[in-house]
Symmetry: C3
Subunit: 306 residues, 3 copies
């Protein structure tokens, strides 16, 4: 079995069979991560370039670990200290790097469409590690893997994404993939954080978090991005916490079977109370562990594809 | 033979047999460093995370070299460009990284106790690469290795640590280990740089550098940390140099058999004159070479322990 | 066959046989880069330190790729975050690093002579990746490789270097090597950018770009370094572009057989118009690909030399 594309640009365009293949392959690598020796020789001799124009800890580390465990060689590019600062155009920077002939490129960029753009200039395989507000497919895949690990097949399961949907690439990638896998998807947040067009994706909209908790099996709670646009979308953080923050009281009042996900980093005391972030309903650190397995699966499937 | 612990957190708590085992193992790796091919396959398949919350050149490079020479895979985390800057709590950052399942973590942090804290959250083996003013065990071990390389068994040897003892993790780790190995330990510095409680460790106190030189076999001279608290402990650098700076004249007047160590980076013209820093009494660059061997020994002993 | 020196410090001092050996060896590695598996085990067990005191994207990435494709272990040092910032002298920083016993050092520094200086302190092999305004030998070698790939043997070929010759290490290394290989070398630029002594290297001087285009086979167009001294050498960029900027009109009027090189990063619209930078006369991205092969050749020849 092979993926239908040479790249993983997003989850909107890919067939459900590809999603299923990645999830199944990740299961094998998840088992490798429990072994004493977590390394396999699959990508020996291949070079992976981590091309991060946007700062990142966990996604970059997770990819780098996945690459090394597949025995690939890794090269890191980050924006700071690069010739981007000498006024070189983006296309020139990229063409230069591509001319060095790497096999796989993992790219994160603040502009939507950059991973797609790269495919026009290189024979390398491209993996989107987050592009603007567009998609973050590996995050959505690890979220889905983590849900299925607890609840089994997603078909018919009710999943609600909570927070600033309008500015979130994580939300979009999750909606696309959850729809394809037959889940019933909803979103929850203040009016200013829910884009009007969201309903065309067949997504139910909540503005009441208690109702969202009581009517769903899973809540995927997004980070309120204090460092970005959140300030313009909500009057203040205290109000956000009061109306949409998730705490143990709210969970126990509405639905003790709920499963809580969060992509991190958490704003403790804002979107999640600390007792929820550390409590029995969440699977946040499982998501992180599964993330390495998901990325190993994608790198493996692309790296061994002709 | 195996270490008694799964971690190297400090030298206060560990049995003298562990110190001796590390020193003896380092001897083997020190010989490897003289070979054409300096690499051994011992840690193949294991991943070491270098988790540096505090800037460092030589300690990070030394560990990274040691790891690669043992054929481990290495991943580097540094504070800048990380989600620590997005307001994530330290515990959340760490838990995230730990969930990626690395085998060994080398950690440096400005707060005492962080390496110990990590052991509660992970099955990974933890190596302290410096925590606040607490301990810096690999530095002390390489100091001791370097002394024994020149003078033989430390038992009965007189070793004086010179400088800002009150703010030094290097001093503390040295004192603990030197005591265990039977050396006679003293410290020398201005009143404001010697903590009152130091004598409970059985340490003699000098305030006169000439006396310290004449009565000891070894001087381990600390860096005056201009970028930290030194400004508060001494009236000015000129005065420090006049009363405690070590120059050739002072050595030749008092004790021509003295051995001078310094952990680097040196403030030339302050704690050491340039002729001493480059002269026949010091073994500063031997310390650096031995540091790689010491770190290989610790990584090897922990990495192969069940 | 072996190089005559243990280092590659510049092209002024080395015999033409060494240049030819590097170019021939690079041809083999250029073929390796077209293979599915681009990795060879030649430098397994050796450690290469990339010692970059000056920021760099493409040169550092190119070297790092070359090193990994030869199966060497790589360690990166960059100035930021290092103890250089704690006031340590350059010599102490370097001596420390050298005491860790690496096999090959790739060094870039803003001061001329630093690579030469390093050879006095270490048994490691030194490769100059750019030192001040002195030399940048690997760039010149990849330029020459790229010209010969298109035009065959350089003997008798006319090559003109265009731009700020006075501040360019790329220009100097090119002049030295082109002369040795029998090319006819010229330079072109405004009076303020051509050093008076340049003619002692047997170099013809143009101040008219149209004439330079019409009388040469190759133009190696340098970057106007906006971030450095360019501001002092020319009245303004618009005037530079008008008198020395290369555009399609100028090429087609004067010489449709010209070959255009540029070391990057390009200032589009200044030294090269965008249509030339992307057009049929230039081989800019070939230069980048060939750069990896040239660096593999040099690392291989030095790394396997006794």
């Amino acid at each position: 079995m092979a993926l239908s594309s040479n790249h993983l640009l997003g989850l909107y365009d890919i067939p459900v069979e590809d999603i299923r293949l990645i999830l199944d392959t990740a299961k094998t690598f998840r088992e490798v991560l429990e072994r004493q020796i977590k390394k396999v020789p699959t990508l020996q001799g291949q070079t992976v370039l981590n091309l991060f124009f946007e700062a990142s800890t966990r996604t970059r580390l997770s990819f780098e670990l996945a690459e090394k465990r597949l025995s690939a060689d890794t090269i890191n590019f980050s924006k700071s200290g690069s010739s981007v600062q000498k006024g070189e155009t983006f296309k020139d920077t990229v063409n230069n790097i591509l001319s060095m002939k790497v096999d796989i490129i993992v790219v994160r960029h603040e502009s939507a469409g950059v991973p797609q753009f790269l495919t026009r200039f290189t024979e390398a395989k491209i993996i989107n590690a987050g592009d603007g507000r567009h998609e973050h497919p590996t995050q959505a895949l690890l979220d889905i893997y983590s849900i299925e690990e607890k609840l089994g097949d997603l078909k018919g399961k009710k999943v609600c994404i909570v927070g600033d949907i309008a500015h979130s690439r994580v939300a979009l990638s999750n909606i696309f993939a959850l729809n394809k896998l037959g889940a019933k998807v909803s979103v929850c947040g203040p009016l200013t954080m829910i884009p009007l067009e969201i309903q065309k994706f067949g997504v139910k909209v909540y503005h009441n978090i208690d109702k969202a908790i009581s009517e769903n099996d899973v809540l995927n709670v997004l980070r309120i991005q204090l460092e970005r646009e959140a300030g313009f979308s909500i009057p203040n953080l205290r109000e956000y916490r009061e109306y949409f923050g998730i705490n143990t009281e709210r969970i126990e009042k509405n639905n003790k079977d709920i499963l809580i996900l969060h992509p991190g980093p958490i704003n403790r005391g804002i979107e999640l109370s600390s007792d929820v972030a550390d409590g029995p309903y969440q699977i946040i650190l499982d998501q992180v562990t599964n993330g390495v397995a998901i990325r190993m699966a994608i790198l493996y499937l692309l790296g061994t594809k002709n």
